[in-house]
Amino acid sequence: MTESTYRIHGDTGEWEVVIGLEVHAQVTTQAKLFSGAPTAFGAEPNTQVSLVDAAMPGMLPVPNRECIRQAVRTGMALGAVINKWSRFDRKNYFYADLPQGYQISQLYHPLVGEGAIDVQLDEKDPESPTKTIGIERIHVEQDAGKLMHDQHPTRSYVDLNRSGVALMEIVSRPDMRSPQEAGAYLSKLRSILRYVGSCDGNMDQGSMRADVNVSVRKPGGELGTRTETKNVNSVRFVMQAIESEAQRQVEVIESGGRIVQETRLFDPDKGETRSMRSKEDAHDYRYFPDPDLLPLELDDAFLDECKASLPELPDAKRRRYEGDLGLTAYNAAVLTADADTARWFEALLAESARVQKKGEPEVARAAANWLISDLFGALNRLGKSIDTSPVSPEEGAELLALIADGTISNTIGKQVFEIMLETGDTPGKIVEEKGLKQTSDTGAIEKVIADIMAANEDKVVEYRGGKDKLFGFFVGQTMKAMQGKANPQVVNELLKKALG
């Protein structure tokens, strides 16, 4: 394992930071964990609430099989132990956003045990070293509702739409040593969840959020007391929270203070954490097995189905792109970082191979280069993501085929792409209508060359006198006169012949 060199430089020397993350990931399903209520984001308050979610008298939870399935698939994608026997526990506390007065969670017997994620320490550099971050467990639990304090001057309102939504709590080992490692871990975890399809990873919508555990110590020394910063909702904020919290802890210790085990909040405006409650006023959650639910027992057929339904995961995909498709490490890394990108690329690749009647490895490089430079460039400019791209993989493949078979040049290809973005027309139609087809008609080209030579007799003399550099001038003039549509190779050959 690579040792991080990230250090906080205090007055008494260097400090090492120890980080663990508890990530809450909302399971992508139509229905909540223990009720049939829908889970749509952004719905009107209290419209996605069943009798069970509102904890009406006599209502009972029934586990949603799809939520369990997604958590199991996630565990499998993280190479984790799947516990065939697990159980739900009640975590008891009173709060207005918690209708039952307890959260159904899994303390004693979680669904998923130990696993691990390999992260790239420098996400921008695919050649940089990797580090393995341990996963301690994944358990399944209910989300709470939401209090709204801005609706009335003296009253708070409760929105139960999120109440009962299924969450996976993915608990890492305290294996991270720098904000960068934590950021890389979170990005990679998010990527895997999106590949698996068990969580959409939309941190800005709260579908994924992290509790950040931070402590500091002298490098290699005894573990320090940790604090937990709750509900941080972006990769950047997680990194900021770690940085400022580690700095704060060093300052407290070095000024003779003591770190108290406590829950803290991250303030994104100030970029720092502040105390929420200390261990002294921590709840006694009185966990005990939920008597409304039987233990969860998974059979082999269920596990086999979960396994069989897993997609190719980012690390495997990246190796395949490099090995089988011959892509550069950088391109392979970029294309596999996000499930949507990889899906788009593979559709482009399959369609390119089909229309060009070639093997995928033969068309892969051109497809990868075009996607990463041209398509990504355009999407960036338009502020769109790949799944809302105005150009489809089929249209992209058609464009690449026109370039590959010499119908249009690379340069014309870029023009055609711009027109595609503007008009939504297919590349074939654009090339046809705008007359952009590249010509290899030697007669036409010869005539143009003759005209150019006649108009530039002096330069012809100079060239023939040994000024070879002027060849480029003649190519340029010819292409200009042909409006860029002449096949450059044909132009070269004919010019050489004409100029002698």
Binding site: G58, A96, R286, F288, P291, L293
Partner: protein, 494 residues
């Protein structure tokens, strides 16, 4: 003409079918009885319209020559722990006073689908916590029974299904629903000279039943005799995908399967149920029951359930633990009582609401349950109690190697006077000593009337069966019923 209110479920059902009387006549007769029995305080809410509507549907079906539903036109009482759509459901608490569910519990829905009608919601111990029906916010239920010799002391109808037991014994309804967590069907049945069965845990859906202790709560019928219990249970039971602990099994035809021939059956007599200070009359009745069983052809064997003495303490840890969590939802936020003193914050609102909404016994159990689940006490109490529960279940499993059913007294005494034990919770809890072990093991068990004590008060005998063997329990109950010839009934004083 027969007074239809003297009839049981089977007789009413059959009489409507044979047009001996109309369902409307039956409903009207019971409605009058209910309205004249306020002194018993068995009902929290009366619902004559519901009973009349069901009667009308039954009479229409008779007139149209249609096949009648199993309980067509039979008016029943509904323990006020079952949520009934559009009808106030309180669990006998101030907390839920005025609460009108927008949904129907699975068990009550089954009964309405079988053609039954509802005479009203029956009083009970608050949140089903109690053995004497003295913890209801809506006042004590008074047993229709009185001790002989001019002693007019108001007697306990048992609990928690005390409204149900009183209403049936006083012939205000031919049958009622009950729920049993540690004896709440069987002990009140025994106290009032009627029958009641708690089926195997999971037979009846808990969906829509206000929860007390989820791992123990189980609905069941209470009625005059074994056959009526069988008919009612057939309608109430059945798999419910909305209850994760519901048993996914077909409902047997218990009524058709009734057979009191005990030849080839072995009846176990658990020696640990001979407790100290048990009245001689109870002991004598038990012996009588043994003789009746022999007479029915059964072989009697002595068995041992060695962990019996730990059952009551384990129960009074597990049940309060679950209740402390189950009742957390009554917080004044979404429905039911809210006590919001001027300027109060959320915590203060919780405290005020729960202080005002819960009675003493409920508070006592919430506090016990909170304590036994607390950090530092959990292992010593809750974990230990769960181990005891496992051992008790194992005791029964071993007993089943030697016998088919167990025969015991239902309760250690006849009905006591109201107020006699209410100041001493431990004495009250001891009432459940014979009923709690089978609850902890989730076994089917029933109480049938065996005879009267020297004061003329009913005493019950309990039959406990193997998991899912309700049929065997009913059959054994029937064998006793046939031999006991129990016909005593309270004299109407109300």
């Amino acid at each position: 003409m027969t007074d239809v209110t003297d009839l049981g479920v089977a007789a009413i059902r059959d009489g409507i079918r044979t047009k001996a009387f109309s369902a409307r006549e039956v409903a009207d007769a019971f409605i009058v009885k209910v309205s004249k029995a306020k002194a018993l305080n068995a009902f929290i809410v009366e619902t004559p319209d519901h009973a009349i509507a069901a009667a009308k549907a039954a009479d229409d079906a008779v007139a149209a020559g249609e096949t009648l539903k199993p309980l067509a036109g039979v008016p029943i009482g509904m323990k006020d722990l079952f949520c009934t759509k559009g009808v106030q459901t309180t669990a006998a608490s101030h907390m839920l006073e005025g609460f009108i569910p927008q949904y129907e519990s699975t068990v009550s829905r089954h009964l309405w689908e079988a053609g039954a009608g509802m005479l009203g919601k029956l009083n009970l111990d608050q949140f089903a916590m109690g053995s004497s029906n003295e913890t209801s916010y809506f006042g004590n239920v008074i047993s229709p029974w009185r001790r002989g010799g001019g002693d007019n002391a108001a007697l306990a109808p048992g609990g928690s299904s005390g409204g149900s037991s009183t209403a049936i014994a006083a012939r205000l309804c031919p049958a009622a629903t009950g729920t049993d967590t540690g004896g709440s069907i069987r002990q009140p049945a025994a106290f009032t000279g009627i029958s009641g069965i708690k089926p195997t845990y999971g037979r009846c859906s808990r969906w829509g039943v206000v929860a007390f202790a989820s791992s123990l709560d189980q609905a069941g019928p209470m009625a005059h005799d074994v056959k009526d219990c069988a008919i009612m249970l057939e309608a109430m039971a059945g798999f419910d995908p909305k209850d994760a602990t519901s048993l996914d099994l077909p409902v047997p035809k218990w009524e058709a399967g009734l057979n009191s021939d005990m030849r080839g059956k072995k009846i176990g007599i658990p020696k640990e149920y001979r407790v100290d200070n048990m009245p001689a009359e109870i002991d004598a009745l038990w012996q009588q029951g043994i003789d009746w069983m022999k007479d029915a052809g059964a072989e009697i064997v002595e068995v041992s359930l060695p962990h019996t003495k730990y059952a009551l303490p384990a129960y009074y840890i597990i049940a309060p633990a679950e209740c402390s969590s189950n009742l957390a939802r009554y917080d004044g936020v979404r429905y039911g009582l809210r006590d919001l003193p001027e300027g109060a914050n959320l915590q203060e609102m919780y405290a005020a609401t729960r202080a005002a909404g819960f009675g003493d016994e409920v508070k006592r159990r919430i506090m016990i349950g909170t304590y036994v689940l607390s950090a530092g006490f959990y292992d010593a109490y809750y974990t230990q109690a769960q181990k005891v529960r496992t051992l008790i279940a194992r005791d029964f499993e071993s007993a089943w190697m030697a016998c088919d059913y167990l025969l015991t007294p239902t309760a250690p005494s006849a009905a006591f006077a109201l107020g006699e034990k209410s100041a001493d919770p431990l004495a009250m809890y001891l009432n459940d000593v014979f009923t709690v072990p089978s609850s902890l093991a989730g076994l089917p068990a029933m109480s049938v009337p065996g005879g009267l004590d020297k004061n003329g008060l009913p005493l019950g005998l309990q039959i406990i069966g193997k998991p899912l063997d309700e049929q065997g329990v009913l059959n054994a109950g029937l064998a006793i019923e046939q031999r006991a010839g129990f016909t005593a009934r309270p004299e109407a004083w109300w």
